[in-house]
Symmetry: D2
Subunit: 371 residues, 4 copies
């Protein structure tokens, strides 16, 4: 596969490594500057996406730019005949996500979303076990996504610049992952959602460093900094009702100190329960009347159709990159028409729909039914 | 102190042991039958509360009966000039709780509620540390109370008999503890609550065993059993907003297999965070930018005024009885006029108020402000 | 039972509380001073053991003094017709332990040793499960006893005064517990031992504070302190071979920072394995080919003959005092002739024998067979 | 780098993946059969090592064959002018290891050993912190390597065939890793060792499956199986004394059920202690008088010279492959003359020396000084 990347930040570096590990051919990188693009990989560097697409004609465009640029970059990719693997969240509004899907259909190309946490072998195994009825009818689906990414009040990220991140910060940056995992693993739909939003860190100072994005609107101080009043939440508390009748609560926060990237999915069924935590992704806990069984990821735990997801014996930890590889590999296979088991643009749109419902719920202080 | 107990179930046995450990004089036990009362302790046994109070004239009546009897039993105690230590939840309605407070005032006696989980030394230490500002302004207050007490569908408890437990099962049986811990430890008030209720196990069979209470209304089958349709939730998902601006989510369940009695309080502040779990009550986790510090309960961790709460060095586990003792001792000291640092009837009423708000919220599918 | 205590330190306070909780009648306390004795409990206070025994004629003498006094105090107890419950280690030499046993036999009285860690319900349950063959033939019996009791170089305890503690510090103060647990739980004998001793903190300063014992020999500095060169190990590394063919290693240390009282017993059998840690005494881990099952202490886990050892449901933590109570209750029952299931003087002597073998092994740098 | 692999088992698959991830050019694979070699990778396949080396002239030969073949294969590699990256243990005897070193010197080529567990970022960070004095003088260095690889009595591996594995099974297969980590992280030498060996599973049945190696000597039953009496230990208990005065114990086992690959390094110093477990390689525990701090692997935790070892932010788990990559990358860099910070043949020989000392100690039941 001939791959191009647009975007040069931390997540672009992850894509670059995985493209190489999977034997993909990286044919171009486009950044805000050619220097930034050149720093990512020793391949042709661009600061003009159209030019890159025109010259390199990639099979796939990996979109690793800030949220509000996903739509334009994906559309450019489709227009150039490429498939698109887009970082999450897919877009900053439902309407934009719908336009992206239309563009994909029009171009006859595949759109995939980097819901990378689906790629853990145990996530796949748990999804299957739920489907097989191991846990019985699902009753409780709780958990959290706690991150300390925004904890330091002195830290600025492009997300804080109004208009960049979409209708939520915690919701859009990490919450979509949790919501996607819930629906993906349970095989059910969230049919009702109630949310409560908090902006704990209301003021941030842009100073123009790496990852801070272009200068936000506002008065620039003598030292070149700009004070930004953050208008998106950094914590969201959620109630969810599932199509099968289960319910649960979760808190999503980007200002939870001591939580580097804690994604917990905790489920009770009528027969058994389970808990999985992304920070220790090689085990899960299966609860029953006998107690709590810590099970290890191992090739022997997987079903035949999951065999490609894991290779190492138990006790030989797999990690974030291994899981992300699985998703990129699945998306590429989907683009080659070999599978439909990958996170699609429809899944990406679903995340935006749930985020918008949560925002409405918080504003109106009532539960919102989700179609 | 001369103590009498009304009630003979499992929690009455806990009270009996603690009364002895604290050097209290148990002067009488009253049960549904004199045999049940006699089985609890080798002291005068009654099946008539008025008779026991009249003959024994206890200083304190410990009310360990099902919820819907708390009011009548407390009122009888006050009428006989006794102080009352009442099991939680204090009553089955706000109105009943108010009548109990009026009775106490009228009698010039003290009413205390057995919010025993306040009695853990680390709960006291965390409450103080919050007050001292160690964690900064509180942002997130999440957690859970997960129990498997009602998981077995074949299990019947008096709680399932309509009219016995009050407006909720999970809420009343265990939820009040979590809500009380939140307000107690944070020193803040829950000012808004949103809830979602589930009845996962709708049908239960009464068979007349121990702890199942008297025969519920309904058709008795040939084998002497009665089928009961449960009308109270066994799971509740909550959103809470605190007076200081923090927020959080929690799930309370009595049907969560593999969770014997998991009470978690998880808090983020602007400076640090902490987590405490009742199942491992001798440690807590203090989160900061350096990582997560596991701190041990130890006398050296306590402030001077907390010195009575713990005696053993770190590594020598204290448990449920040790914590419960602290609360009984504090309540008795309160009754002797030596302290006001114990869970009062006002705290008991507060629990009922929050439960009623949660029930209203779930019914109306909207957030409810709490006075 | 009419009980007297000799000794007034921290462990005497534990005995005092348990005596009361069990309904024992405390009839006298003897200390180095009458003031110290009076401070322990509001009962007759003595500074002369013979006088206390003569005046109070207790049924049982609890010996809570430093190790080198155990022999004389136990002999005095037996001479006065009392049973003796002696703190561990039983004596400072094998010869002394043998004399104590002879005195008990001569007096027709029972000698028991406070191997309190046997009192945990899960220790009893694991001992039974081993006997039942749940784990298969035992292969590995490893673990540790890690304490930070002696970590602070500025801390002085009577143990450091030459002649007080016996042939080892870590071995005698905590190691005997681990060795006893190994033989108690496995039901096997340690038949060979190899040891390596370390004195990491060679110098300590006596200042005459509480728990530091009388002034040690040596030059007293102007500030009243005495410098003591410690001649007993604070860390011992062990290899053990069991009678059934299993083997294992362990490290015992009193200078292991961050380990308040970590006692681990980790066992592999031919069928399953288990791990138990005194710091979280309400669970154990049962390892099998399916993974690691965390089992909860619960009355339902116990056999009929173990029913008295635990009362609380799972999730309601029991602790150090609950376990210690079980051992005192068993010892008293033994003294009343009701049971022989308690730690006897023979078990106490066994500990000294193993310690002496370890000391010999370390000195001669070879494995020592133990009879 | 042009790389060739000899060997086609599980560890060869790990090397193959890492060679590709690092951008190495795999030029040939040699196996017991050309089919096995061809199955490993789509590159020229051989069943004759000399032919592969002659035709492909690789820069590096990765030796992934059973232990007793390491010497011959490494010598062949050097003779063909290749550098050699050899799997552990380096050889089956000290003499063989010495011959391999001589061959490397003669050829002017580099020999490296795949001590892959050194490659974890936290192992590097802890090694540096020890050197910086963060923990103070080291006192206790304990731990374990527990594996269930040989637990199933029905499982046969080539290791059980006499003559294949060297003087020990647990020692050679996994023990060398633990011994290497001790010396690598502490920066000290093990100067004395005492060991106790056990053969818990004495009989195994060869059936000729994958990974079982060629037919062992002995009578073949009608079903084609051969009964083998295992003459190497599956568990070893160790005492070690370090050059700096510290000491510790460890148990190494390959029959410890429920332990997929538990490698623990637990260290006490005069100031602080730490614990690291390979199964959760992204955190370590730093113990101090304040408690136990769980620290996360993160780029910010590393020193400048360690920056290449880790790329992902905290909470984004790195795993076994990431660590192994670091070692292969370091070895290749060493072969290019860019670094000497990689596990060398001298380190490999050191492992064999320690194993031989342990075996002697167990046979003679005494502690053995190690040069």
């Amino acid at each position: 596969m001939r791959i191009a990347i647009v975007g040069t930040g931390g997540i672009a570096r992850v894509h670059r490594r995985i493209i190489r590990d999977l034997g993909g051919e990286l044919v171009g990188v486009c950044g805000r500057s050619r220097a930034a693009a050149a720093a990512l990989a020793p391949v042709p560097a661009y600061d003009d996406l159209a030019a890159m697409l025109d010259e390199q004609r990639p099979d796939v465009l990996h979109v690793c730019t800030p949220n509000h640029l996903h739509e334009a970059h994906a559309l450019a990719g489709f227009a150039a005949g490429a498939h698109v693997l887009c970082e999450k969240p897919m877009a900053t509004s439902l309407a934009a996500a719908e336009r992206m899907i239309e563009a994909a259909v029009r171009a006859g190309r595949i759109g995939a979303v980097a819901y990378n946490y689906r790629g853990y072998p145990l996530v796949a195994a748990l999804r299957r076990k739920v489907r097989e009825g191991v846990f019985g009818a699902l009753r409780r689906v709780s958990g959290c996504y706690l991150s300390e990414d925004g904890f330091d009040p002195a830290k600025y990220m492009w997300h804080f610049t109004p208009g960049s991140v979409g209708p939520g910060y915690a919701l859009m940056d990490v919450g979509v992952h949790w919501l996607d995992l819930v629906e993906h693993v349970t095989g059910e739909r969230i049919v009702e959602i109630a949310a409560q939003l908090s902006i704990h860190q209301r003021e941030r100072i842009w100073r123009g460093g790496e990852g801070q994005g272009p200068r936000p609107p506002g008065h620039m101080a003598e030292d070149g900094s700009v004070r930004v009043m953050v208008d998106v939440e950094d914590q969201v508390d959620l109630l969810v009702r599932l199509s099968g009748g289960g319910g649960g609560s979760a808190t999503i926060s980007c200002v939870s100190v001591g939580h580097p990237n804690t994604i917990v999915l905790s489920v009770d069924g009528a027969l058994k329960g389970f808990d999985w935590n992304q920070e220790e992704p090689n085990t899960y806990r299966e609860r029953s009347v006998d107690g709590t069984l810590i099970r290890q990821r191992a090739p022997s735990l997987m079903a035949a159709e999951e065999a490609d997801l894991t290779a190492l014996p138990a006790g030989h930890a797999e990690g974030y990159i291994d899981a992300f590889r699985n998703i990129v590999a699945a998306a590429w296979a989907g683009m080659r028409g070999e599978t439909d088991a990958f996170p699609t643009f429809a899944d990406g749109l679903r995340g935006i729909r749930l985020v918008e419902a949560a925002v409405t719920s918080a504003r109106e202080k009532r539960a919102i039914a989700v179609g």
